[in-house]
Symmetry: D2
Subunit: 493 residues, 4 copies
């Protein structure tokens, strides 16, 4: 419950500026000061006093919700969830459907059943859309609900209803694509800083560097939440396909005239609203931006991402622990053993990659055991901090890791879903119609990058002419489009 | 079917400018040139080729629809309606609900049933929102559907689904209230002219007179149809409650400084989109405008309408035909007979009011019959063209008609609904929380006004402090709030 | 003075909406209620009470000016003009300049002299720019001044100062080019209707036809008069060079897809502000619009006008009266005489072209005189109403008139200025760097067109690649660029 | 000249983004590639090739100027300055004026002389207004010119002309007042950070704190430099008159609801454009903002500044050095001597205030000299770092310094101008119509504040009802309006 308390704070902050509006509206509600929350909800549903009153009541409910502590909010949400569809009415409607004869009767009966299934709580939720910043309120409400629901069937049902409503209101047809740049309001840019989670924005200078001249940023907005980005993508206009995120984000790198660029690199995509989890618009965003850039900059020929491979580190570590013999030959292991003698190799087991590797290596007590297998050697070496800075070892490791990664991306599947790529980012882009294009050694040498994927990054290519074909190949046929080089690499060894 | 053909023209015109966009998108659909409409719909639903493809397919469907003639369109709509929910899946979901035990299981089963009831055609309709001007397309589509459905159960079901979707998207929470004035785009004002049906706008000068200085106009807009008013209201800022629409619309009347006005008169409300019939926002509009004006012009103290009484003429004519003795005393009838001798009184039976009256009077052959009842005399006099210009007669008729009208508004009910005012405009304003304030003799002396309500108009008063109370009185308790004077008038005689 | 009274009305109307602002400001001026106009001006100049007071005083002066009648305004203007530079100071400054030695001293002395020459009335005029709509006030003031000045040296001097100030403020660098279309505010379009003087806009439908789809309109605006166009040009996008203004303005003509057009025709240019007479921006306007259209519509290859020839009718009539033998051969005259026998030919002397012609023909008493010269015949024929509808005669007249017009445009010069084309419109476009491209028979068959130029119109071609060259040719060398065909035509006969 | 080189950098940066536009325009100039700068200027002045050509030539000159180094730019400016008025023409015009008889002739002669005095370089400068960002170019040009001119009579004359032009274009009537807040473009806020010189903005958080909720910021803009603030003022909405700038700027201070504030404090005014030095709009700014706030926030009753006293430290130090006996009594000096014994008192002479004080104290070799005068003691104490943190001493010093400061503000005059307050900030606000209201001990305890004015700050009160009166009192009569308390303080002792 402590997490909810935290979130509670978030909701309050996001909505602080409207609370005075809500307060004013709440004060216009005539009577009912002593009503319980549930009674207020009832009055709101009944539309007592007309539509404007109902709206004022909704504002009062919103104001009261904000004033509650975490436990109080759960109570509020349970009250709300309690406005479920009427059981008797439902039985009756099912009965009528069973007895309906002919298409006209059946159609009418279905409509009646649909209505009987519509829980009053959905109408109540809808009422909030009419108050100032009501849409933001509902989005934040769902964020809290997702945390609070747990295994509570009642709250889960409310969450499902709210998700359905939001999915309908946030249909991509209602979203607006806008460019964000250095001329955007500071209040909006501040949010970008808060929401960027892939490659953190450290300073306002870093931020400016991502918005100016040879950088672009686009976001989806909803007309009812005009100052809140829903999802945004950051784009770099470069020459040739980018292979290092550190170089992309270097503030001191020379600026390229966008008219000289030939490639657009999508290097960061971020969902901003937790309350919209599971309602996707990312797939549209990239393709809309590709269209926009094609229109504006005739010189851009290629569109690709520079993406993390978030599951690779964990997967490889598990493979190492399992002793997968395909990962390394005895010859390469011997060379590594020579380069990194036992005394140095004893890992101070580290978080993440190192952890699993340490377990795989088994004994933590001393140097390499007598009969270390090649895989054990590999695990031991990779568990060392800073291996990638040791040139000779890195030269041996590079082809091994690239090959392992190619297999991971192209051959490994999600648990129980053979057609789905195991890596979630790969799955996202392949579903969108991209293909796996190129692996980049030392693509992200930040702490996070090394831990997550041994520093590897990948480019997914969006070829406007083949997006549909690739989409069908992956979604329809379960194959994974990739460049010839990558396919060869995955088959090698 | 000929009416549909007419409407077809309307749809085409409204959407002409986007068809080139749709054409471009349609041309991007790969393959499927020979597909039937139904096959295209299937492909669109399956999301074949990804979301962007689905969007292009929707554009192609929209383009194809526009290219069809009336019969073709009905075929298209029936194809679309055919994508109904799966019967087997529905039976299964009902069965599961019957067997569900405990709240969690029941909640899950209800969710499943809800989904099983959701017809694929609804998803298809939703797809259109993502194409340019897609919302307008759907609104126009419903307008055509309302005409085409007739008794066709399949089309009716489609219409019901579409209405549900539109009701959700056009929830008042998503609408924007905007002022329209002489600085608004000409393209928007042109639409105002087209949509104004209460008091026709005859010239651009007449239009300007309704938008400038002491006049206001407000409309609701939807963010996805930014150039299409949904409903608009025209307001006059005046001194004292207005009693004549001709005076209000007089272009030569001196202009009042809005800072001097004490009353805002709502003299015309118009729904603009036939495709949104039955989805109401009028109730919100007036009250939002009242709030706006209260804020802006502190000097405005009263808010009232100057409204037509569209059903009065027809009702009174029927009463006359029925010989309702409460309408007139013998003494008054005698005075009328004296003023209007038989030779002049013989009516050339005219359309509307005259028609019924003529029938009531019975014999059309000569002067007043020997033993004409008072009601017959009244009917005969009212059937004459121009009675209201004969001062002496008018002086006798005025109190009679005012009293009859007061009764009509305050005591007559809609067929089979005792609590509902018979007059539709009265019902609208009473539901909104207004009260019947004052009747106006010679309120509308246009042809239409005389025919519809013998020239009478009525003011409904919106008292911001009592809107809720009046709303409850009418909606909750079935009583009709009115000024003391009107109540007295209705009881008199 | 009656004309000024008329203009007075114009000024009032244009500025009515700000007078309440001026009144409020005027009321904030402390004291001085009994001051004369001249005393107020003095206080305003002295900046008594600070800058904001000075501004309020300026508002009071403006308000007072509007309240004056025509005679009062002339008095006001003379008071204002009286704030001339100080004679003693001027003499002193001239003296100092005479005595100044060395560049530094001379520069300082010149600066001093410049200041001594600056009349206080200029500073007073400048003060008006700080009040709401002050710029519009000054522009209207100059319009009135131009009318009132006459031979009054004092008012002329004021007018010269005001013109200088306006010229500096309305430098083309400060103007904004904006497109006007059917989405522009109605209040702006209303002004277009008022200011269009070349081809009158008759209805709002006519207006819409000039702004939509294959028509464009562009205007210059000043940031301090944001709702007042200064000059605007109307453009038609067509296939091939337009040859008839009636066809261009035909509301029923089919609409061309702008993407299919190859030619932009500038068919109407209008100056809107009489108070800016003599301050030209027309030369910039056309060239800026050419650039804009080149950018936006790659398919447009040619840019040309369809222009009136306002001086041709008057010139030709004079030539006919003078009996210029080059206008017609005996043979052609004989043919005309045969086609139009004496009885018909007797002209009811009409206004304009006919008038002069009638005088040329001499006797007005009967049929053609015995020994009518060819020129007399021509004059007599052209003086007839409707000659152009008589096919056979028109066939004879067409080549004669075209040749005469070619000579008029290419060879006739303004009085006393040999290098300047006699026709003012020709001079305008030639100065701008256009060339005379083509004459159009029946180019403008309206009453006005027939009277002004016997229905002829001309295309001036703006060839973006040769504008500078043509400009130099005309302005620098005094030659008139023209198409080969026109040059040949002018030399023929 | 090294400073100019520095500024050169500034100019380049400000204009970098337009140089590509200028380059494109420059390339459209036909011929003349080998022309010298002066020849280009000549061609530009002659309007060779028409107005558009002239504009392109101006762009080329601007581009070329940017490409020059410091010495080259001085050459360019001297070339430009060389286009002076024609001497012969000037003599002739003076001669004609001398001979002119009668008002008409004299008026005409003066106009002629004015024109003869207008140097062609002014017309050339005006040409730059027509190129993109040309106004910014001219403003930056003047900034460079101010630095480069020195004693060069030619450059000074050019600078005078340019100042005159800018003064005319930047007349307050043409400026737009805009609010700047946290929703303003980041690019604009970045400039605020750069231009704020009174109280430096240290972080974006500091910046946000100055723009949000109970803070306001307003700036003047020119329509031709839309993204460049000219001058801006920062306002705090507080309860009671603010007495400490550190408290005002404290980011952690609780936020006040603007509806609760009763006072608006103007705590920082900054001119942004060095190239507009000497062209003042600050006087208008404060008064316009007062009006705006009066309108918007009815609860604000007082308008005052919290201002630095930049000249006080220097003045007092000089008085101390002069041994002004009015500053301190023997009794107070004795108390100070006791509190701060010799050993501690020996000042490490510091920059600024300390410097003069050290000189005043004379001998720097040891403790307090035998026969130290009271003033010497005071000087010695004030020269110590940190005296204000020693409570007991501060208690003695506070009334002495406040009295001295009251005298400084109310009685001391600028050199040679008896009616003008010696302190420049005091002069600015008094000229504007403010009065000296209150001195604040520890008003600014930053390093800068202590050095500049021993930590004192002052409130100037803007009483809307008395601004004119105070303005006249100071400007007209040479008296300095002040609160009763301050006047009493200045007279005391």
């Amino acid at each position: 419950m402590s997490d909810l308390a935290l979130e509670t704070g978030l909701l309050d902050r996001a909505l602080r500026r409207v609370t005075s509006l809500w307060r004013d509206m709440a004060e216009r509600v005539v009577g009912g000061e002593a009503e319980s929350i549930a009674e207020q909800m009832r009055a709101c549903l009944d539309g007592r006093g007309g539509e404007v009153s109902a709206r004022n009541r909704a504002a009062r409910l919103a104001r009261d919700y904000l004033a509650l502590d975490a436990a109080g909010r759960v109570g509020f949400l349970r009250d709300l969830a309690g406005f479920d569809s009427d059981e008797a009415g439902l039985d009756y409607a099912i009965d009528r459907l069973a007895k309906a004869v002919g298409p006209a009767e059946r159609a009418a009966a279905k409509t009646r059943l649909r209505r009987a299934l519509e829980p009053p709580r959905s109408r109540l939720l809808t009422q909030f859309t009419a108050i100032p910043d009501g849409m933001k309120f509902l989005v934040e409400l769902r964020a809290e609900l997702l945390q609070a629901a747990g295994k509570d069937a009642l709250l889960q049902a409310l969450e499902t209803d709210l998700k359905g409503l939001l999915a309908s209101w946030f249909d991509v047809g209602f979203l607006e694509l806008r460019r964000i740049d250095w001329h955007s309001p500071a209040a909006l840019l501040e949010k970008l800083v808060r929401y960027e989670a892939v490659h953190r924005i450290r300073t306002w200078r870093d931020l400016k560097n991502r918005l100016d001249s040879d950088r672009r940023c686009y976001a989806f907005f909803h007309p009812r939440m005009p100052e809140e980005p829903l999802i945004f993508v950051e784009v770099a206009l470069v020459k040739g396909m980018a292979d290092s995120v550190q170089r992309l984000l270097d503030e001191k790198a020379p600026v390229l005239d966008p008219g000289q660029a030939d490639t657009a690199i999508f290097y960061s995509i971020n969902n901003c609203q937790r309350g919209l989890d599971g309602i996707s618009f990312g797939n549209f965003l990239i393709k809309r931006v590709v269209s926009l850039l094609q229109e504006e900059l005739k010189n851009i020929r290629s569109f690709a991402t520079l993406s993390p491979i978030p599951g690779f580190g964990r997967w490889l570590t598990a493979q190492l622990a399992d002793g997968d013999p395909a990962l390394i030959e005895e010859e390469q292991a011997a060379a590594l053993r020579q380069l990194l003698p036992a005394s140095l190799a004893l890992p101070a087991p580290q978080a993440g990659a190192g952890e699993g590797a340490g377990q795989g290596a088994g004994e933590r007590t001393g140097g390499p055991p007598m009969a270390e297998t090649p895989v054990q050697t590999l695990a031991r070496v990779l568990a060392r901090r800073g291996w990638q800075r040791e040139e000779a070892a890195a030269r041996i490791l590079e082809p091994l890791l690239l090959r392992a990664c190619a297999r991971y991306l192209l051959q490994e599947s999600a648990k129980g879903r053979a057609r789905r790529a195991r890596d979630p980012v790969a799955h996202f882009h392949l579903s969108n119609g991209a293909r796996v294009e190129r692996l980049n050694w030392k693509g992200d040498v930040s702490e996070k990058g090394l831990k997550e994927s041994f520093g590897l990054m990948v480019n997914y290519l969006y070829d406007p002419a083949r997006i549909e074909e690739y989409h069908e190949e992956y979604v329809g046929e379960g194959r994974r489009p990739a460049s010839a080089a990558l396919r060869k690499l995955a088959r090698s060894g």
